[in-house]
Amino acid sequence: MRLEEKWRETAKEVEGIYSVEALAKRMGVGKRTAVNYVHELRKKGFVETMRGKRGKRLYKINPLRLRNIGNPGIYDLLNRYSSLKLQSGVRERIVGYRIEKPEELLVRALLTRDFRVVLSAVELFRIIKDWKYLYSLAKKHKLERFIAALYFLSRRYFRVRRMDHRMLNMIRKSKIKERYLIPNIESSDFKDIQKEWGVFLPFNKSDMDRLRVKK
């Protein structure tokens, strides 16, 4: 049996999420040996390290190895920036292109029209600097008014850099094309923001409280 197959067989046998102690117990070996197993399995690509409660290191062992391809997608990038972590059963990758700027990440997140993704993306306003670039992207996808509404919403919850007033003026002049960011979902809070920008925000106060951002 080839070495690769042997390790795949081991990964198949112990598939699951373990701490070192749990893995040692499962395999009937000592803790040191379990660490060695994890080390070897990781080299072959069968182990992914995760953090559990109180930062405890957990090992996800899976015989199914997706190839490393391209650059991270929006889920991974949002998890890097936002306090609201997203879990997805689908791994997203982008080949031949890398999302470098938070402005682009924000627009891509809004385009998903997914509640959790958009909520997580609101926090990006903390690091957005290039308002001109954001405006050009938003205009391309007809999202200008949603960007403005979310910007004023985020200002109520955390410190955000001031938006360029020229950009705000341009957004005010833009036409309202679509009122719902997420189809048929409108907030019962933040009526003033929604009225000012002529769009419906999907979040209530309780949703925004889920973002654990220091003011």
Binding site: R8, L66, R67, I69, E92, R93, V95
Partner: protein
């Protein structure tokens, strides 16, 4: 034969050629290449599009790249085959032969890879096995036995899907039962007995209904 790197390059090329953003499910041997199984190359690339319109965008892009239409039979479930040198693309719309793309299959997608305008969704190993059962080729059985050998297959998912498919297509359970029999006898695949028993029950039920 197309290897993973070659497939990646051609997908990038297609993504840059497509004039609209198109999503597709990557199935069969081509999906297996994304999973790092011991299979290293595939004969053809199989893709399923949600609609005929999306498939037409793909045909247009492949046409621009020099691919030629080889087989074209109108009707749902029938693929459009595009060929260029030794490369082959089978493009389906909505169905793979008489096998419908259920919400379950779309929901179990494991990876979504964006190649510019082409978004490739890689179906789960369980669904690869199911779709492999729709044909009668030895190579497909070999691939399925390889998946069973190299990963822990969730048989409950497979049983649920076959049951769902049987409602639309009575042949699904019959084909799948024959497929499992071949895997056990010809490829020595490790398939739980109760799974075979359940599929056999579905098979018998379908046969009775057909009589």
């Amino acid at each position: 034969m197309i290897g993973f790197e070659e497939q990646k390059r051609i997908f990038e090329l297609i993504g840059n050629t497509l004039r609209k953003r198109v999503e597709c499910l990557v199935i069969g041997g081509s999906a297996m290449l994304f999973y790092n199984f011991s299979k290293i190359a595939t004969k053809d690339v199989d893709m399923v599009f949600a609609s005929e319109r999306e498939r037409d965008f793909m045909i247009e892009a492949l046409d621009k790249l020099g691919f030629k239409k080889n087989v074209y039979e109108k009707g749902t479930g029938k693929p459009v085959r595009m060929e260029f040198k030794d490369m082959m693309f089978d493009l389906f719309a909505g169905e793979v032969f008489r096998f419908k793309i259920s919400g379950g299959i779309s929901g179990r997608v494991k990876e979504m890879v964006e190649f510019s305008n082409l978004v490739a969704k890689i179906i789960s190993p369980e669904d690869i096995i199911i779709l492999k059962s729709m044909t009668d080729r030895k190579g497909d059985r070999d691939d399925a036995s390889r998946i069973i050998k190299e990963t822990n297959v969730n048989w409950d998912v497979i049983l649920q899907e076959i049951e769902w498919q049987s409602k639309n297509n009575p042949n699904a359970a019959i084909l799948f039962y024959d497929f499992l029999e071949d895997l056990v006898h010809d490829f020595n695949a490790d398939i739980p007995r109760d799974v075979i028993k359940k599929v056999k029950e579905m098979y018998k039920g379908m046969m009775d209904r057909l009589r």
